[in-house]
Amino acid sequence: MALPIMAVLVFFLVLPIAMIVVVSFWQATEFSIIPAFDFENYQFLFGSNVTYRVFLNTFKYALITWAFTLGIGFTVAYFLAFHVRSLTWQVVLFLLCTIPFWTSNIIRMISWIPFLGRNGIANSTLISWGVIDAPLDWLLFSDFAVILAFVHLYTLFMVVPIFNTMMRIDKSLIEAARDAGATGAQILWNVIIPLTKPGMMIGTIFVVTLVMGDFITVRFMSGSQSANVGRLISNDIALLAYPSASATAVVLLLTVLIVIGILLRFVDIRKEL
């Protein structure tokens, strides 16, 4: 029964990864790529300062986005799970949070233009309030815009798993805490947050991997001014430099897998479904 799914994954996941690893040792000329076995691509990659800067930038995006999505996602899920009292409303509001996930990311990125542009809503509002005199240039096509878009796109990856674990918390535990004299903040800190950790971990895995593997958000929202590893790869691809793109891809994949490996030590995904 599991054979078809296995076949698809072997052909479209395992083989491609193997192919990337193989090609990362190949050589490239301007027009073609040649099978070979040398470490030139890796030497170039690790010998270049750009690589380290770009990897650092990628981690920066991942960390900042993670902090924001976790904060917002937790608060939203907490409201839904513990403050909305009827199940119908919980379902309706939860669906409202998840619907954007099923619409196009690219269009959701584009839709920030009228907000953040030089003559956009944010700038004209701030000017009319007298907060600023001249339009701010760093709203669109900047790191700020990149992070904003990441948070916009990926917060629901936090909301869903956190809400899921919160809904499975036995309400009598909270009552017990209250009977024992705990304040609201104490309940939150000593009961709810520890019990919600698996959900936060799953959300973290999603957000971190999505941000680290992204190239399109960074390209679009930074106006090609910032770079992360994904963009490094996609630039190489655009130049048909597949071997060097593959070498970068291998390093990126290893980095992501190491991060996930660490995170998975804290949570058993199958138990949490």
Binding site: T75, T103, I107, G213, S246
Partner: protein, 279 residues
């Protein structure tokens, strides 16, 4: 009922702001897509018109939008059906131990966390090096499955974790074959969740960009077409297209949700004969 604590209103306001943050930008471009013919990409509105929507229907104005929409739609359906069928089979398989279960589980997780561009690059390389043509319905199709199948399978895990095995035992005790048990007991019970899997399969495929980037070949899917437009189209026609495809997505989501609701009701009605017994 006890009165709502003060924190309810604070958190409620936060939640409302979050919804505004989620939907505000999309609503803005929906409004701006009705710009007058002289309008630009930002406010103010220079009149209102359907000018930019009309532009979309003129082939020359902006690439092959309708062709790409058709391809995305067909591909979405292909991915949807495959995802549902394979996820159910995988979900059923995972209820018992089998050889390779651990490996398959880790492959699923890998498929979920691997940067999309790696799938794109790897599948593209395999096809080009083995002399095959990349095409949205072959390489693109497979590449998208690596994104939809993990979601489908994870949903099935969640479903079967909550599945009461005594229904099957009852069916078997009544002499049902394993196929009859599956067909008349298991599938009707998990039916509503399958609509959820289908929703994931279709919408994730319909909107997928990175995994189709190098695997779609010379015929673009809609997200690729839209992305191409962002670099060279600077008129609200971009918003008009964005609005149309978002409306289409919302219609599909609405359709799936209604179907799920309907089938859950039907299940509740057909699943019990309580109260109809002859006393």
């Amino acid at each position: 009922m006890e009165p709502r604590p003060k924190s309810f209103y604070v958190l409620g306001a936060f939640f409302a702001l979050f919804l505004l943050f989620l939907y505000g930008p999309t609503i803005t471009i929906a409004i701006l897509s009705f710009q007058g013919p002289g309008g630009g990409l930002t406010f103010p509105m220079r009149g209102t018109s359907l000018h930019w929507f009309r532009d979309l229907f003129e082939q020359q104005a902006v690439g092959d939008i309708w062709g790409s929409f058709r391809r995305s739609f067909v591909l979405g359906l292909m991915v949807m059906v495959t995802t549902v069928v394979l996820s159910v089979m995988g979900g059923l398989a995972f209820r018992k131990r089998f050889r390779g279960a651990g490996v398959l589980f880790y492959l699923i997780i890998t498929a979920l966390v691997i940067p999309s561009i790696l799938i794109s690059l790897g599948v593209g390389l395999i096809f080009s090096q083995s002399g095959l043509n990349v095409h949205w319905s072959t390489s693109g199709f497979g590449a998208q499955l690596t994104w939809t199948l993990p979601f489908g399978l994870l949903i099935m895990f969640a479903v079967f974790n909550r599945f009461d095995k005594s229904y099957e035992e009852a069916a078997r005790d009544l002499g049902a074959t394993s196929w009859q048990t599956l067909r008349h007991v298991v599938l009707p019970i998990i039916g509503p969740s399958l609509i959820g899997v289908a929703l994931f399969g279709f919408t994730l495929s319909y909107d997928e960009f990175a995994r189709t980037l190098l695997t779609a070949g010379s015929y673009n899917t809609l997200p690729l077409e839209i992305f191409g437009m962002t670099t060279n189209v600077t008129t609200p026609v971009l918003y008009a297209l964005g609005t149309l495809t978002t409306v289409f997505s919302l219609l599909m989501i609405g359709l799936f949700l209604c179907l799920a609701l309907w089938s859950a009701r039907r299940k509740a009605r057909a699943g019990t004969d309580a109260g109809k017994g002859m006393l």
